[in-house]
C-alpha cells in the first residue's frame, strides 16, 4: 500500500509535525505500507510538498481535518481518509492497518 498524507493544525507549530512523524514511524514499522510521503502545512509554510508522481502512485490519501488543507484538488479521484491530527499522533498504526485491510493492499 502506498500512502500520501498532508498534515496541518490550527496553530501550525506542533501537532502538524507530531502527526506527520507518527504516521511516518508507523509506516516504517508497518509490513503493509510500502511507501509513505507526508507533506506538512504549518506556520513555516509547506514542507516536503508531495509531487505529482507521489500522488499519482498513491493507493490512498490521508488528510488531517482540524483545519482546511491547501491545494486539495490535486487529490481528486483518489480515496481520501480524513482524520484528526490527534488521531494520527495517537493511533497511526491502527489507522494504517485498517486502511490496508480495506484496500486489500
Amino acid at each position: 500500500m502506498k500512502v500520501v498524507a498532508v498534515t496541518a493544525c490550527p496553530s501550525g507549530v506542533a501537532h502538524t509535525y507530531m502527526a506527520a512523524e507518527s504516521l511516518k514511524v508507523a509506516a516504517d514499522e508497518s509490513e503493509t505500507c510500502s511507501s509513505c510521503f507526508v507533506e506538512t502545512q504549518g506556520q513555516i509554510g509547506i514542507e516536503d510538498e508531495l509531487t505529482a508522481q507521489q500522488i499519482q502512485a498513491a493507493d490512498v490519501v490521508i488528510l488531517t481535518n482540524d483545519i482546511g488543507i491547501k491545494n486539495e484538488t490535486r487529490f481528486k479521484g483518489k480515496p481520501v481518509l480524513r482524520v484528526k491530527a490527534g488521531d494520527l499522533i495517537k493511533k497511526s498504526p491502527v489507522i494504517l492497518s485498517k486502511l490496508a485491510s480495506k484496500l486489500g493492499a
Binding site: 490550527p10 496553530s11 507549530v13 506542533a14 501537532h15 512523524e21 506556520q43
Partner: protein
C-alpha cells in the same frame, strides 16, 4: 541559530509542584516573563488557556505541549516543566502528564529558524527513546544539551 535564543535554564523547572494545568501554565508564564520573553503575561496566559480549551495538548506518553501564539510573546521560546506528581491533562491516551513543554510564539513569526526548531522538537517527541532521555535528565543543562544534540542535526541540513 543558537539554541539559547529559544531555551535557557531560566525557563526550565524540573521540580514543579502543581495541582492542575492552570497552575503549570501560570508558573511557566512567570518564568518566561522573568526571562524577558513576554511583554504581556496575562494576555499570553489567556491565549494558552484558550488554545487548551479547543483540544487537549496532552499528546500521550505523559507529555503535554500547551502553546500560546500571540503578540504578547517577544521571541519564540520553549519553557519546560517536570511535575513532582503527575496530573490529569485529559490527554489523548488518558495517562497523567509529568512533562510539559510550554511553547510561546509571536503571532507575526513565520518561516524562521525558531519555528523550525519547534517543528523538529515536536517530531522528536514522537520517538520513545528521546522521551526516555528527556525524562531521565536531572538538570536543565542536560535537557538543553539533549534537545540541542538531537535537533541541531535536523536543522543543519
Amino acid at each position: 541559530m543558537n539554541l539559547s535564543e529559544v531555551i535557557t535554564p531560566a525557563i526550565i523547572d524540573l521540580a514543579v509542584d502543581a495541582e492542575d494545568k492552570a497552575s503549570v501554565f501560570a508558573h511557566l508564564a512567570t518564568l518566561l516573563e522573568q526571562d524577558g520573553r513576554l511583554n504581556d503575561r496575562e494576555a499570553y496566559l489567556q491565549n494558552v488557556q484558550e488554545r487548551e480549551a479547543l483540544a487537549t495538548t496532552g499528546i500521550g506518553f505523559g507529555i503535554a505541549i500547551p502553546h500560546g501564539k500571540t503578540d504578547a510573546v517577544n521571541t519564540v521560546s520553549v519553557a519546560i516543566a517536570k511535575l513532582a506528581k503527575p496530573i490529569d491533562w485529559q490527554a489523548m491516551d488518558d495517562a497523567p502528564v509529568d512533562t510539559v513543554f510550554q511553547l510561546a510564539v509571536p503571532s507575526a513569526s513565520q518561516g524562521d529558524a525558531h519555528l523550525k526548531l519547534l517543528a523538529a522538537l515536536s517530531r522528536k517527541l514522537i520517538h520513545a527513546d528521546f522521551r526516555a532521555q528527556i525524562k531521565a535528565a536531572t538538570t536543565p543543562e542536560q535537557v538543553i544539551e539533549l534537545i540541542g544534540s538531537t535537533i541541531n542535526q535536523t536543522l543543519e541540513v
